[in-house]
């Protein structure tokens, strides 16, 4: 297959990818410091400078930097690296750098207004709470930069397709292209919210804003955002993890199907975040519930395919029993270990997701600490730990340097897994007992919290373990980047399928599936949004209670 086994270390393309990863790791490091302070604050551990203002600033910064900056820059870097490795080209290197600077400029602008206390609106920025205009403009620029990234990868794919008209696109690139399609579908919603509502309103051009329309446009973006984080993790699980383990990709065709199902199903689901919102009819909430459950399906398939691919690895090494193949896997490899623990976490996270989407349970856990527990096992472990492991895999291949501090790199995924286990379990239970999310103190107005004070303390201990893990990660990255032994950059190698797809099939028709995706988004949102728009409503003026 063309491009498999390519060496790209030291090329301008590798530098482009590595620079994105560097920004991602920086954002991660800052956000990790804020995370541990929040854990301590919720549990009512006193520390110098603890204040409501600092707490809510840090919740905003942690959310924006982790969920939007770390992920987006990492995925951009990963996308460039995989495309260059598999297709042997990146068309529009200048545009790619432009995208990088636009995204970085936007990030720095937004981060400045957050850290100076002018935009303490959390990463969901629900109006009529109003941030500084530069916050909205900066966030929009981050998205615009990522759109340029998507354009460069798509242009590279088109150029490759001209050279290989009859070859199915290599698996990892297929997954990255699907991720980009989801990202365009998703960000259309938040772009409308920014350009039609938040930016004109924050600049004072219009006086009032409709909070329900804003929330609807936000969650049009907010749920597929989850798949934007998850799909690159799946790409690595499908195409790299079995390779490192010495196995084969169990089913090439089904992997392609999974990514296409995400393209069509990940966006028309947003109302499951708005079950308790007024102004949206029960019928439309139900329609989004159906798609929400449907999107569990590709993850079920992924669980089978990836685990089967790893079993193949064990069998090839001679394992005969029902489970002894597990022991033959490369648990000492930091990349493999991080991926495997991330997958294990996702088993819990996925069940939690199904619970959140069921009406009765949703009202029980909506906006409680349960939700925080939930997305820390999903985004915070499934995606983040996969990305950390992937950084260990990418750095030698991009920088031509050997991974430094390998002992720390092997310890780090365990610390993350254990810390998150404590953190997330505690907050899941506390949420079920009623602890609201995003609170400065678990004792709320001072006298509450009997039912969950000890759980909040356990959560803080989990947070400290997570922080130690984050320190290990940053130490390994810095050590490798600045002082890793120079080596010949290893090749990018991908898992060979048991039965490779040799002819283009249904699941390779990306253009067609994009159109299906667009139609489903229109079906899911056009009617409810237009009805809302046509109903006589009252807008809200801005508030800045921070």
């Amino acid at each position: 297959m063309s491009g498999t086994g390519a060496v790209i270390g030291g090329t301008p393309q590798a530098r482009l990818a590595a620079t994105h990863i560097a920004v991602a790791v920086t954002a991660f490091a800052v956000a990790a410091c804020m995370g541990v302070l929040q854990g301590l604050s919720i549990a009512d551990f006193e520390f110098p400078m603890r204040s409501e203002q600092l707490y809510y600033i840090s919740v905003t910064a942690h959310g924006v930097l982790m969920a939007l900056v770390f992920t987006t820059f990492f995925i951009m870097g990963l996308g460039y690296a995989l495309t260059q490795a598999q297709l042997g080209r990146l068309v529009g290197l200048k545009t790619a750098w432009l995208g990088f600077w636009v995204a970085l400029g936007g990030t720095v602008t937004a981060a400045y207004t957050i850290l100076t206390g002018q935009s303490t609106v959390l990463y969901t920025f629900y109006p009529p709470m109003q941030a500084h205009p530069a916050f909205y403009i900066g966030a929009t620029l981050l998205v615009v930069g990522s759109w340029l990234w998507g354009g460069v990868v798509i242009a590279s794919y088109r150029s490759w397709k001209k050279d290989y008209p009859d070859t199915p696109v290599p698996m990892a690139t297929h997954g990255i292209l699907a991720t980009i399609i989801v990202w365009y579908l998703a960000t259309a919603g938040v772009a409308m919210e920014m350009l039609l509502q938040l930016i004109p309103w924050s600049l004072g051009w219009v006086e009032t804003i409709d909070p329900i329309i804003a929330r609807t446009l936000f969650w049009w973006f907010g749920h597929p955002l989850v798949y934007f984080w998850l799909m690159p993790a799946y790409v690595l699980w499908y195409t790299v993890m079995p390779r490192i383990a010495g196995g084969r990709l169990f089913s090439d065709k089904l992997a392609r199907m999974v990514f296409i199902l995400f393209v069509i199903l990940s966006t028309p689901v947003g109302f499951h975040h708005q079950f308790t919102d007024p102004g949206i009819s029960a019928g439309w909430k139900f329609a989004h519930t159906i798609t929400t459950f449907a999107i569990l399906f590709p993850s079920f398939v992924t669980a089978f395919t990836v685990i089967a691919s790893l079993e193949v690895a064990g069998r090839l090494k001679g394992a005969k029993g029902l489970f002894d193949w597990i022991g033959t896997l490369p648990w000492k490899d930091p990349f493999f270990l991080a991926m495997a623990l991330a997958m294990l976490s996702f088993a819990f996270g996925g069940f939690g997701g199904a619970i959140n989407a069921a009406y009765g349970m949703n009202s029980m856990v909506h906006n409680t600490a349960w939700i925080m527990g939930h997305f820390h096992v999903t985004l915070g472990t499934t995606s983040a730990l996969t990305f950390m492991g992937a950084t260990y895999w990418l750095m030698p291949r991009l920088l031509g340097r050997q991974l430094a501090l390998p002992g720390l790199a092997r310890l780090q995924p365990w610390l993350w897994f254990i810390g998150m286990g404590i953190f997330s379990t505690s907050f899941h239970i506390a949420g079920l007992r009623g602890l609201p999310r995003r609170v400065y103190s678990a004792s709320l107005a001072g006298e509450q919290g009997g039912a969950w004070a000890d759980l909040a303390q356990a959560g803080a201990i989990g947070g400290i373990v997570l922080f130690l893990s984050a320190l290990c990660f940053v130490a390994v990255v810095l050590g490798t980047w600045l002082g890793g032994k120079r080596i010949e950059a290893p090749a990018f190698e991908f898992a060979v399928p048991l039965e490779p797809v040799t002819e283009k099939g249904l699941w390779d028709r990306l253009g067609f599936w994009t159109i299906v995706g667009i139609v489903l988004v229109i079906l899911a949102y056009a009617y409810p949004l237009i009805t809302l728009w046509m109903t006589p409503r009252f807008g809200s003026p801005p508030f800045q209670p921070f």
Binding site: T276, F297, F300, A308, Y359, P436, P545
Partner: protein
């Protein structure tokens, strides 16, 4: 190429499980009213102080005996507060906000809805156990968000009989 036999079984199993989930949700939604509050009603937040229902929100008993409680969420409290209601009686909450988005969550129950300025959230809940419950704001609404807590006392009064 073909799909492996076990993988096919797995896919049918997963698909079947999803269908079962959806059927259960549909049946409970249709027969036991387990469905999200989806009331559609607007109100002007700018003039909420003069609003007949939300200007000075008070518990009321409708002509047919239903208990209705309008709730105004406002930085950083719920009005009226504290509330007192009888046990085993359906209570209809009607909730809006005077400023930013708040949450209204009776701690330890699944009475949970958003308080959004310009809109009225409405749902009916029956307390099965007497006692005092906290009402927590569960949507970030400013620096004292965590301290936005109300109280509701559920009494053993013969409310069930109306």
């Amino acid at each position: 190429m073909s799909v492996d036999k076990y993988e096919r079984i797995w896919m049918f199993g997963a698909g079947g499980l999803i269908v079962v989930f959806l059927v259960i949700i549909s049946i409970t939604a249709a027969t036991q009213a387990v469905r999200p509050p989806s009331h559609i009603e607007v109100v002007n937040p700018a003039t909420i102080a003069e609003h007949p229902e939300f200007g000075d929100p008070q518990l009321r008993v409708e002509a047919d005996g239903r208990i209705v409680i309008p709730v105004l969420a406002q930085m950083f409290g719920f009005f009226p507060d504290p509330l007192e209601v009888p046990v085993n009686t359906p209570i209809t909450f009607r909730i809006t906000s005077a400023d930013v988005v708040h949450g209204f969550q009776v701690v330890g129950t699944n009475a949970n809805a958003m308080a959004v300025p310009g809109y009225v959230s409405q749902f009916t809940y029956t307390f099965k156990k007497a006692g005092t419950y906290d009402i927590a704001c569960n949507e970030y609404c400013g620096l004292m968000h965590h301290a936005m807590v109300g109280k509701i006392t559920v009494t053993e009064a013969p409310g069930g009989q109306r």
